[in-house]
Amino acid sequence: MATKTESLTKETLLDWYRELVLVRKFEDQCHHQYFEEKDPARKITGVYLHLASGSEATHVGAVKALGKDDHVITAYRDHGIAIARGTDPKRVMAEMFGKRTGTSGGKGGSMHLADRSVNFWGGYAIVGGHIPLGVGIALKEKYTKTKNAVLCFIGDGALNNGYFHEAANMAQIWRLPIVFLVENNFVGMGTRIEESSGQTQPTKRAIGYGMKEGPSIDGQNILEVYNTVKAELDWARENGPVLMEAKTYRFEGHGVSDKLYDSRDDLKAELSVWEKRDPINVLRAHLESSFKNLDKDLAKIDAETTQAVQEALDFAIASPAPDYNDLISHVYVGM
């Protein structure tokens, strides 16, 4: 990795560690409330729920690289991104339960989190649909002559969609400040990248648009993610779009209705390899090799994150469901 790295304090690294652990526990809790929970009042329901366990370093690291006035937009695998961007986990959890206190008032669900107050422009469930939206946000920044940039996550599977193609080209001809970060987990639902993509090195797709071919990085290493994304955002502010890739993995299969690891031995085998590169362990190893006497810090983080998730859950469950008035409001502005 050629990028010059920032020197990061112990505090910062512990803070990131906390977030990785928090997000993982959040995802695990969602999993539990969906699959194990028996009490209907405490159950997460609905046909879609996409966990991102395994990809925390990519999500948290990239989001931490954003400035306050920068922007982030993504697809439906969005819980960790909301949390990393600073949205209260309580409100994120409440959205999982479809509660009025959720980030989208219970109307968006897990796939459609968003928090305007922190420039998190949402998760989107139509594969590729958010990519031009991100480009449009970047257009606004260029139009109004700021130096703010947009971070747009893209799944490896989404690269094959027309939305990506048209939006990437438009971003390039207009030299818009956007970093397209391919979250390459090597699979979309059950289709491997080699099965879906003629070009299996995502950054090479930049050539088709005359765009900067950004780096291809280890998405399990939050330091590498943070440093690279930060550098590319800065490049994008001045010069225009970049296409970069973080290699990562999803430990939980595609979504809740997913039986992938029952049915594809090759993917099961691959998973076990990636589990050895758990992003939490990668950062923990780095911390332990850099600093001494972390046990107390780590124990505190463990306790705090457990508590935060528990509080989020309690909050979500205690929150009111939306009512008829919510059902019919916000169809139009001012009507």
């Binding site: 329901t45 609905g46 046909v47 879609y48 959205e95 479809g98 509660k99 009025r100 989208s104 219970g106 109307k107 968006g108 669900g109 796939m111 459609h112 989107y124 469930a125 139509i126 594969v127 590729g128 649909g129 599977g157 989404a158 094959n160 969609n161 027309g162 979309g188 639902m189 059950g190 289709t191 099965e195 879906s196 993509s197 992938l260 049915s263 594809r264 469901a321 939306p322 009512d323 008829y324 919510d326 059902l327 019919i328 169809v331």
Partner: protein, 324 residues
């Protein structure tokens, strides 16, 4: 001889029989192969028929639509799966401006014997982007055939008809109906395109529906029967070509009609049925024709309010009482 099969398995058996019968028939779409199909309609097909005939595609709905059209023109008989009808919105041009126009535009030189299968329906907290039931929208356009079965038995016979037909067919399958069973005869049968069906007889009111609407209509009919109100339930089955003969015949007897659909209210299924009925059977109208539809909102995630927006049997009962 017959078997009890879920709609999922009835569809699977239709596909399976047609794949065996005609090797020009092949399947393409997202996750249809190695993943066994998102809705498991193609379970086991990849292993049985191999990757040439069961083709996993990238997430490329425009190309799934367009490539299938080209293959159909060239003599194959693709069954392209769109996973859900929501994603077919990305293939709108491929289906409407290509599949549905090519036979006409080139004066019959080419045919497009293509089936686009897509899961439809909502009520499962799939939210605004994933809860479309836009069959009527597609059926606006001539050149396309649009069908949506209401039960496993019809599903099998209709899908076989669709695959054998030389026109492009949009075939939607209500997700909530996939697990529901019918008795499926072992002997082959076909349900012809453009034929509606009387699902229940009655003299007091005509209920017109398709897809899941039929289920609500039948439920409502059972409730009404307890009060000695006999509803006739007509399943149009195909939104295009639309067969109004049974609807008209029934209406001339009952003089009252409620239309039931899972779709949105405006410019939709109920609009067309009501418009045709009042025109063709004006002299038989004893009451306004009512429509029971989804509420006119994008669909929300939260279960409580989503269910408020969904049609159901008691809404149908209420509407029937208004026209009696």
């Amino acid at each position: 001889m017959s078997k009890n099969l879920s709609m999922r398995d009835a569809l699977r058996s239709a596909l399976h029989e047609e794949m065996l019968r005609d090797d020009r028939v092949f399947i393409m779409g997202e996750e249809v192969g190695r993943w066994n199909g998102t809705h498991k309609v193609t379970r086991g097909f990849f292993d049985e028929f191999g990757p040439e005939r069961v083709r996993d595609t990238p997430i490329s709905e425009m190309a799934i639509g367009g490539v299938a059209v080209g293959a159909a023109m060239a003599g194959l008989r693709p069954v392209a799966e769109m996973m859900t009808i929501n994603f077919a919105l990305l293939a709108f041009d491929a289906i409407i401006n290509h599949a549905a126009k090519i036979h006409y535009m080139f004066n019959g030189q080419f045919t497009v014997p293509l089936v686009i299968r897509a899961a439809t329906g909502w009520g499962n907290q799939a939210t605004a982007t994933h809860s479309h039931t836009p069959e009527p929208i597609w059926a606006h356009f001539p050149g396309l055939i649009v069908g949506c079965p209401s039960n496993a038995y019809d599903a099998k016979g209709m899908l076989k008809a669709a695959i054998r037909d030389d026109n492009p067919v949009l075939f939607t399958e209500v997700i909530a109906l996939y697990p529901k069973p019918s008795q499926i005869p072992d002997d082959e049968y076909i349900i012809p395109i453009g034929k509606s069906d009387v699902k229940r007889q009655g003299d007091d009111v005509t209920l017109v529906a398709y897809g899941r609407g039929v289920e609500w209509a039948l439920e409502a009919a059972n409730i009404l029967a307890k009060e000695d109100i006999q509803a006739e339930v007509i399943d149009v089955r195909w939104l295009r070509p639309l067969d109004m003969s049974a609807v008209l015949e029934s209406f001339k007897k009952t003089n009252r009609c409620v239309i039931v659909e899972e779709s949105l209210p405006m410019y939709s299924f109920g609009s067309e049925i009501a418009a045709q009925l009042q025109e063709a059977a004006f002299d038989y109208m004893d009451a306004p024709i009512k429509r029971v539809t989804a509420m006119d909102v994008p669909l929300p995630f939260a279960r409580e309010i989503e269910l408020m927006a969904l049609p159901n049997a008691s809404k149908v009962v209420k509407a029937v009482k208004e026209v009696l």
